[in-house]
């Protein structure tokens, strides 16, 4: 109860500090001193502290199962393990907004202490733009989604956390994702500040690159964790479903990746300034837009916590205010002073990055249209459609071929003007890739030509980056590692989708099922009781062609609060493949429906994404080294 009060008043104090901070920094703006008023820094720290206190008091209420708090009542239960009580804090609408605020205030504070060498006016303006966002979110939390609503009479028991959210990967997915997703706000604020100060320059590029990298690394990891959760917990046997919610995290990732590459050009050649600004604005706008789409209930998904229309309207208006503000700033202040530097020689690093951007924009528009078109259609013609994976695959996969090809060649080019070096070794690498692919795929796929070309270019990228990593002097390792990770990712996804096999059948205890590749034996079923669920565990033995036996134990769980039946797949992971078995009840008899899948190179998808973000991390640390 006390925690409730503390949390609530900390939020109000945090909001008041925002207003105070704006006032002081506006006054400080025309002050002749070179450094920002020390008060600004202290107040910004204090604001962060208040948000942390508020966040901790919500965690405290969750841990104590304090059901006088409405959020806790709606999303927790006394029988829940401690770990999920804590993670339940951000597993709901109110708590996750508090996490938004936490990241917003954390990033502006870090920005202020990390940007001491930057011009004072630019820093103040960044603070002001960020405070506009922060005030918006404070108001949003306090007016529409207060996490500290008081309930009386105090219920004895809570309603429980949705069981599909009770998963370790999902417990850390929101904080990591938010560091990237909300972290883009600081890029937004600082680019608007830089535009007004006409400070989009090489120096600014070097400074803001760190922030882009931080957001990018966390966003990449956060998306991966979400994907791992979908794979292990939802038991759909895939890692990416083109669900609107996945798409809204992918869209800022695409623009952020494009931005990262533009900034590399900016810090070298002071070019592509409009691109940089527009991408910075778009990235954060897409983050906000994603929040709107999933939180307003306009789309249905696991992330839609509540359907309160006032919330949707608030974010919608706020989103458009931010868009109007940023476009206003862009049109009024941005002038591309040195147009000449945007004329690139056709064969140069800059051109290849520009091409990369166009591809990213294309991928972005495909995902964007697939996500929002159903909403537009529904409103305009009241027709309901859903856009599924084939749409995205048909439109994206073929374009990966030129994209990967440019990606293998681009980093080998020099800045300004270049020619292709080591033509012969490149050609030989390419021929090797094609031959290798052809022999691997010869008997595996029906669409041999298309897949050979696609997999060859992925191999080509893989080999060229691998060669670069080992042979070239290590001046740009971060980038090479990230590109290697990306090529590995594409390769694992392709082989995963080409080589996956699946068996679906009904089977009862004691029965054997024979198929061309082996045999599935349902040994027994047993029951198990846990504090928050009861489970039926199936014991299966699967014999493959070589006679090797593996045991798999999928579960059917019946959660008690709220009552939901979930199917927990059992997955045996090796470096080569994942063996995935899920079972479901069949109504009215002793048969169980089982789905057995062999998914090659599954673990490499996660490894390559880790490699990708590790590359980003290396670039980030390298920049610090030089200073």
């Amino acid at each position: 109860m006390l925690a409730n009060q503390i949390g609530y008043y900390s939020l109000i104090l945090g909001l008041l500090l925002s207003v105070l901070l704006c006032g002081i920094s506006i006054k400080d703006f025309n002050n002749s001193s070179k450094q920002i008023n020390q008060k600004v820094l202290s107040l910004s720290f204090l604001q962060l502290v208040f948000v942390i206190v508020s966040f901790l008091s919500l965690i405290f209420s969750f841990v104590n199962s304090d059901f006088s708090n409405e959020t806790v009542f709606n999303n927790s239960h006394t029988t829940k393990p401690l770990f999920y009580k804590i993670s339940g804090t951000w597993g709901n609408h109110e708590g996750s907004l508090l996490l938004w605020l936490l990241v917003l205030t954390l990033f502006i504070f870090l920005f202020l202490i990390k940007s001491r060498e930057q011009p004072k006016k630019y820093r103040i303006l960044t603070l002001l733009f960020q405070q506009i966002i922060i005030i918006g979110f404070f108001l949003f939390v306090l007016l529409t989604s207060n996490p500290f609503n008081y309930l009386f009479p105090i219920p004895i028991e809570g309603l429980g956390l949705n069981p599909i959210l009770q998963d370790p990967a999902l417990a850390i997915h929101p904080p990591i994702l938010y560091l990237g997703y909300v972290g883009t706000s600081i890029i937004f604020s600082s680019s608007l500040a830089a535009v007004t100060q006409n400070y989009i320059s090489k120096e600014w590029g070097q400074h803001v690159k760190k922030w882009v990298l931080v957001s990018w690394v966390f966003l990449t990891l956060g998306i991966m964790l979400g994907s791992i959760w979908a794979y292990y917990e939802l038991g759909w046997g895939g890692f990416w479903f083109w669900d609107p919610v996945e798409n809204v995290s992918l869209m800022p990732w695409l623009t952020l990746t494009a931005l990262l590459h533009c900034i590399i050009v900016l810090e070298r050649r002071a070019a592509l300034t409009s691109w940089v600004v527009i991408l910075s604005i778009t990235t954060f706008t897409l983050s906000m837009c994603g929040t709107f789409l999933v939180r307003s209930g306009i789309l249905n998904s696991v992330h839609t916590f509540a359907n309160d229309p006032t919330r949707g309207i608030f974010i919608l208006i706020f989103l458009f205010v931010l868009i109007a503000l940023s476009l206003g700033v862009f049109f009024l202040f941005h002038n591309e002073n040195n147009k000449s530097s945007n004329n690139f020689f056709w064969l140069s690093r800059e051109t290849s990055i520009l091409i990369n951007n166009w591809f990213m924009m294309y991928f972005l528009s495909v995902v964007l249209i697939g996500t929002v078109y159903p909403i537009f259609l529904d409103v305009i013609s009241s027709e309901k459609i859903s856009v599924g994976p084939p749409f995205y695959q048909k439109l994206i996969v073929p374009f990966l071929i030129p994209f990967l090809l440019f990606m293998s060649l681009g980093p080998r080019l020099k800045w300004v003007k270049s020619k292709i070096e080591n033509k012969y070794s490149l050609i030989i690498t390419f021929i090797i890739s094609v031959i290798l692919t052809f022999f691997i795929l010869k008997n595996l796929t029906t669409d041999l030509l298309f897949y050979t070309v696609l997999v060859s270019v992925a191999f080509f990228l893989f080999f060229t980056t691998l060669k670069e990593l080992f042979i070239k002097k290590l001046n740009n390792t971060g980038q090479t590692v990230a590109h290697l990770g990306f090529s590995l990712l594409i390769l694992s996804i392709l082989f995963n989708s080409i080589l996956s096999s699946e068996i679906i059948t009904n089977i009862k205890v004691g029965e054997k099922y024979n198929y061309s590749e082996g045999e599935i034996f349902f040994k027994k079923a047993e029951e198990r009781k846990e504090s928050n669920f009861n489970a039926i565990i199936g014991h299966f033995e699967i014999k493959d062609k070589s006679g090797k036996i593996i045991e798999l134990k999928p579960e059917i769980r019946v959660y008690n609060q709220p009552i939901i039946i979930t199917s927990e797949a059992d997955i045996k992971t090796t470096l080569l493949d994942d063996k995935f078995l899920a079972m479901n009840l069949v109504k009215g008899n002793e048969y169980f429906n089982i789905r057995y899948q062999v998914k090659p190179f599954m673990v490499w998808i996660w490894i390559s994404v880790l490699l990708l973000s590790f590359g980003g991390l290396m670039s980030l640390l390298k920049k610090r080294y030089e200073k």
Partner: protein
């Protein structure tokens, strides 16, 4: 001039997006799929909510009037928002409401009814959700309108609202 034109285009485009999203928000997640050939209601046997005895479908739909089947659960939040409207509909003499309690805890469901009122003339239990599947349900809440020939003539996915109630009243008149 060119700059002005482009900002004008941008503003028009953004306003259009805003209007669409705004209308999309007010479009409730309710969805009434078109029914091409009117299906008979399935023949089934289900447990009664109050007495624990089994009822068959003929018995449940024996009268020569319109029926509304409403799939609900105590854990379903949108069900709470539509509940007052169901209470209103239940006062109508020319229709009977049948509640289909979907995958619920019986105690919680009883508390729900005690707290918000009982609009249903009969409640049957669908413990594992199979009966709802036989009706062709998408999720909870969902509402089916059944005419005097025992055919499903309309279904509404998602919580009902005032407009839908008016529509239902027109149908059953």
């Amino acid at each position: 001039m060119k700059n002005k034109l482009s900002s004008f285009v941008v503003i028009i485009f953004l306003s259009f997006c805003f209007v669409v999203f705004y209308k999309g928000l007010n479009n409730p997640n309710t969805y009434s799929p078109k029914i091409k050939d009117k299906k008979n209601i399935p023949i089934f046997e289900a447990k009664d909510f109050n007495s624990n005895s089994y009822l068959n479908s003929e018995k449940i739909f024996e009268e020569d009037i319109f029926y509304i089947i409403n799939i609900w659960a105590s854990w379903c939040v949108p069900c709470r928002t539509e509940h007052p409207l169901l209470m209103g509909l239940s006062k109508n003499q020319s229709v009977k409401l049948i509640g289909l309690n979907y995958r619920d805890n019986l105690n919680n469901a009883k508390k729900f009814i005690n707290k918000f009122g009982n609009p249903y003339s009969q409640i049957i239990i669908d413990e594992d959700g199979t009966l709802s599947v036989e009706f062709g349900a998408f999720g909870v809440p969902e509402t089916f309108i059944i005419d005097k020939n025992k055919k499903i003539i309309k279904k509404i996915v998602g919580p009902i609202n005032k407009e839908i109630v008016e529509e239902i009243k027109l149908i059953i008149k």
